[in-house]
Structures are given as C-alpha cells and as structure tokens.
C-alpha cells in the first residue's frame, strides 16, 4: 500500500466534489485551449509567411493600385530574384456567406514564389495553359463539392460582372500552416476583361510580391525598391510578407490581447476553485494527517498525500480538457473555416495547457500542505470525534 494508492483513493472519497472539480478544470482547459488556438489562427498568416518574400503596395494605401509597368524596374533592383503581382478580387460565390479569399495572380511567378502550394503536375500544366482556369484550395473545394473540370461563376464586387472560371487544379498545403481555402486565377483574364469594360482600370495591379535572394538584406532591398519609385505618381511601400500580414493583425490586436488575458483569467479562476477544494479536503482530513504523524510518518509523506491528490485531480481534468480540445477545434473549424482557414491545436497550446494544469495542482496544494504538515499532532487528534 503505497502513497500513490492512498492519494488515488482519497481523490475519490467525495465523488461528487471531485467530479465537479475535474469538470471545472476540464472546461477551463478546454476554454484555454480554444482561446489560444483562436489567437494562433489569427496569427496563422503571419506565421506562414516566408522571409524570402517581400510585398510592395501603394504607399498611400493598399486600396490604391500600382502600374503594371513597375514590374521591369523592380526586377532590376539588386537582390530581387522573382517578381509576381496580383489583385484582391473579392468575388462572391452565389451569396456573401460563401466567403473565401480569391485573387487574380500572375500564375507562373506566383507558383514559383509559393512552393508551399502543392498542385499535381498535370493540373498545374492545365491551369497555366487555360486563361480562364483557376486553382482552388482543398478545403474550399470540399466545402462546395468542386472537382477539377467544374465551371464556377463568381460575382465580382470590386470588378463588376459575373466571372466564369474552370477549376483546373486543387492545391494542398505543404503543412498544416498553409491556408487551403484560397482561390487563384490568371491576372491576364482580369486585365483583358478590364481593358474591354473599364479601360482606365487596366494595367493596374493591387500589389507586387517579390522573391529575394537573401532574407538578411530584406531591409536594403525594400529601401531600394521604394527609392526607385520615389516622387512618382504611385510611390511604393515595401515590407516583408510577415510585416504585411502583421499590418492586418494589428488592426485587431486589442481584441487578441483581450482574448489572451481572458485565457489567463480562466486559469486563475480555476486555480482558486481547486485551491478551495483542496483546502476543504485538507481541513476535513487534519485528524488523519495527525494519525499519520503519530504513527511516525514525516512531513514529506503528508505533503505527498496532499500534492499527489491535488495534482491528480488537476491533471486528470487537464487531460480530459486537452482531449476535448481537438474535436472542439475541429467542429469550430468546420463551422467557421471561412474566417479561420488555419484552425488547429498547436503542440505549444497542449504544452501550455499541461503546464497550466500542473501549476493549478501545485498552487492549490501549497497552503493545505503547509497546514497539514505543521499541525500539532495533539491539535489534529482533537479534531476527531
């Protein structure tokens, strides 16, 4: 009969109380995991960005275009290896609730710049040779039941009209951090249509994406690009892809900080709940601890009993909470995948949940342990009866 057996039996002496405490920890860890995953999803674009890519946009605002003519001058800047360009298309499939990100891109340079989008060779070749062809991410294809060869019509919001595309490829991400909800088509298709319907908007791109040879020189290359177009009609602002993505995230940073704070507050609350449970437990068992001391058991044994029970309850609740975080995150991703395209539970979140659970167990046991270890035997025995 070891200490392990003893604290395990002690843990279930008050089944309802222990059960409710475990339930509380489970819910807290689940909420913690979901909130952290949500924050991570927000930063997913930032995390997935490459150090080898820079984004060039109009210095005034992203909504103002840049001339296509810049591409050759950008290519001449030292350190630039590849130039691609595109436009946010903002098309709607049937109705607005079917949102997914869609872009007009220069396909060859785009696919060269984004090796993390994996497309079968045959589909890639067909896409490149079809000006009305499009490539769509696996998740969006699954969401709408699209297959290669299907015709899809998007209603233009920024570029008016009904735009018809043929799905020529379905891409998968190289890893889980790659957004699999996007939709790409030929920029040329957009430009040619604009030439016919709105000639003043033709020859304009929303942004340039450039590849650079050395990420350590990103600052110098950015400065060189911006210097090239200084005092022109459309001055540029060049930044790393990460900084560009962070620009979007920072608009909602206050909300993210609030979510992170809430996730910490949840852990503090459950810590207080478990501490209360352990304090009640230790108070009820003071007489028993006195008996153990009477029989010759030392302070370490008593501390082991209290800490063991507290850690067991906390870690059991944590394990169940972490176990439930995965299906909950999956359900959340299914329901709100359009807004959180990369929503998965990261290993770091699991480790933080485990650390939080262990911390709750340890902190909750501190005071009860101190009391149990320091009680005078005669006083403890007086509590019995």
């Amino acid at each position: 009969m070891g200490i392990l057996k003893l604290f395990l039996r002690n843990a279930f002496r008050h089944k309802l109380r222990t059960g409710l405490t475990i339930l509380g920890i489970t819910i807290a860890i689940l909420a913690f995991g979901m909130l952290r995953t949500m924050v991570n999803a927000w930063y997913a674009g930032v995390e997935a960005s490459s150090a080898n890519r820079l984004v060039i946009r109009n210095a005034i605002s992203l909504v103002f275009p840049l001339p296509l003519a810049y591409k050759d001058r950008i290519r001449q800047v030292s350190g630039v290896t590849l130039v691609s360009w595109g436009n946010w298309f903002g098309g709607v499939y049937i109705e607005e609730k079917n949102f997914f990100p869609n872009f007009a891109v220069e396909p060859r340079s785009f696919l060269a710049l984004y090796p993390e989008y994996l497309i079968p060779d045959l589909q890639r070749a067909t896409f490149l040779s079809d000006r009305k062809g499009a490539v769509v991410g696996r998740k969006t294809a699954e969401r709408f039941g699209w297959k290669v060869g299907d015709t899809v019509t998007l209603k233009g919001t920024i570029f008016p009209g009904n735009w018809e595309f043929t799905i020529r490829g379905i891409y998968r991400g190289k890893d889980r951090s790659v957004d699999e909800t996007q939709f790409f088509f030929h920029w040329e298709y957009l430009d040619e249509t604009m030439k016919k319907t709105a000639p003043r908007r033709a020859g304009q791109v929303g942004y340039y994406m450039i590849g650079i040879a050395n990420p350590n020189l990103a600052g110098e290359v950015s400065a060189a690009v911006d210097a090239t177009f200084k005092n022109s009609l459309a001055e540029t602002l060049t930044e790393t892809e990460k900084a560009f993505q962070m620009g979007f995230v920072s608009m909602t940073e206050a909300i993210l900080i609030a979510i992170q704070l809430v996730s910490v507050v949840i852990i503090v609350i459950i810590m207080a709940v478990v501490a209360n449970t352990m304090a009640m437990t230790a108070r009820e068992r003071i007489g028993e601890y006195a008996v153990f001391k009477t029989l010759g058991f030392g302070g370490w044994f008593i501390a082991g009993l209290v800490f063991g029970e507290s850690l067991f309850i906390s870690l059991l609740g944590t394990a169940v909470g972490i176990g439930l975080t995965f299906p909950a995150a999956e359900a959340f991703a299914d329901y709100l995948g359009a807004y959180f395209p990369i929503f998965f539970v990261e290993t770091e979140t699991i480790l933080m949940g485990l650390a939080a659970g262990a911390l709750v167990g340890v902190v909750a046991a501190l005071f009860p342990t101190w009391r149990a270890v320091n009680i005078r035997i005669a006083d403890g025995l007086r509590r019995i009866g």
Partner: protein
C-alpha cells in the same frame, strides 16, 4: 508503586498478574511540567509529575476532565513536548529528541490506541494494520505475515479486506489494537479505548488488552474515565488539576 496483588478483575481470566517488583523500569517520568498559552494567559496543565512504570505493567491514568491525563499520555508517547522535566522510555530520553527523531522513535517504540479508533477510512483493515510497518525495512511478505498475525490476535483475520465503515465500533477498535501491536512496540498507549463503545464491546476490548498485558507482557498506559475499564489495570494513577495522586485499584 506497582501492586501485583490487585483484586479480581476482567484480567484475571487471562492468568494472574505478573509480579512487577523485579521488572526494570521502562518509563521514568521526572519532574515534568506542562502548560498551555491562551493569548496572554498561561494555563498550567501538569505540575512536577514524577513516577515510574515497570516493564509489563498495565497502568491506568484517571481523573476528571481537564486534569491533564491525556496531556501526560501524549508526553509519554512523544506526540507533545514537556515544558520541563524529563521522560525516559526504554533508556531513551525522549524530551531531548527533535521532531524527526521523535517521529522515528514513535514508529518503533509506541503503539497507539485512540478513543475514536482513528483508522484511515480508505484503507482496509489489513492496510490499516500494515501502515506502521511501511516505515520499517520489512519485505512485503514479512509485512503480510506480521499483519495476519496481529489480526489473528484480535480475532479479525477473517475481516482483513473490510473497510472501517464495514466494521462495528468494537471491531474497528480491535483493528486499531492490531495496528498498535503489529510493530511489537516498547509501550502501548491507549486514550479512552472504550469511550466510544457499548458495554459489550468495551468489555471485549478490555479483555483483549488484558490478554496483551498478561499473556504477551505488554506495557500498557491507559487513560480512562471508566472505573470498570480501570479495574483491569494493575496500577491506577489519579490526576487532579495537573497534580498526581498515587493509588491502587
């Protein structure tokens, strides 16, 4: 101090009381005083107590509530500290030991029997009796052997897998006695061992303690209010307001 010619008692069923005059002194209490502090008040509980207990003696401590008998028992058992004086048990001056040494000493030299049994409710009778043996170097098989023997002594071998809640008060106290004797301690201390029992169970417990005294030669120090229980003892010490009055049954 010890008087082997005690009158007829429940213990006489278990043979004559052993002659104690030639037995060595196992507990020597010298000039022991103890007081408690309540705020700014100092309340004296024991005043200059002095007596001996011989090996194999069955001694009862009696006295009204608040007379200090349980405090005296706690001091002899090493679970409380005297303010002054010395207590030597089996040649060891326990007043000179620190907390850790005292804990180690209690584990091997003292068997405890409490009024409310104080069994651990989540452990079976077997596991409760095994508890003190956890602190010894005995193997699992040796511990099992000792526990089974102790439970046979108290006639509860057949209930070893039962939890305290599945046992009557008398049975629980017998398990507590088995736990007290399983390490073969130098002294057994019992604080109101029949205080929570009905008359029949109390008689059973006292008979058991007599057996331990007469047949196994155990030194027993018992605090009791119950004159019937005290009759089993060879020597009765009476405490009143912390002062000792020697007497015989």
């Amino acid at each position: 101090m010890s008087d082997p010619t005690s009158p007829t008692s429940i213990c006489d069923e278990h043979g004559p009381a052993p002659a104690l005059e030639h037995q060595p002194v196992i507990v020597a209490v010298r000039n022991v005083s103890k007081s408690y502090r309540r705020g700014s008040h100092v309340i004296p509980v024991l005043r200059e107590i002095e007596f001996d207990i011989r090996e194999g003696e069955f001694l009862a401590l009696m006295g009204p509530s608040g007379s200090g008998k349980s405090t005296l028992l706690n001091l002899i058992a090493g679970i409380d500290k005297a303010d002054s004086g010395s207590i030597v048990v089996g040649g060891v001056d326990i007043t000179a030991l620190d907390e850790t040494e005292l804990a180690r000493w209690r584990a091997t030299h003292v068997g405890f029997i409490f009024q409310f049994y104080n069994l651990i409710p989540v452990l079976t009778a077997f596991e409760n009796v095994e508890l003190p043996l956890q602190l010894t170097g005995l193997t699992r098989a040796q511990r099992r052997e000792h526990v089974e023997t102790a439970l046979r002594v108290v006639n509860l071998a057949h209930r070893m897998d039962h939890y305290p809640s599945q046992l009557s008060g008398g049975e629980q106290q017998r398990v507590a006695i088995a736990r007290a004797v399983v390490t073969d301690p130098t002294i057994l201390v019992a604080d109101e061992p029949t205080g929570d029992l009905d008359r029949a169970s109390a008689r059973e417990i006292m008979a058991l303690m007599c057996r331990l005294s007469r047949e196994s030669g155990k030194t027993i120090i018992m605090v009791t209010h119950d004159p019937k229980a005290a009759e089993a003892a060879q020597v009765i010490l009476r405490l009143d307001k912390g002062v000792l009055n020697h007497g015989h049954p």
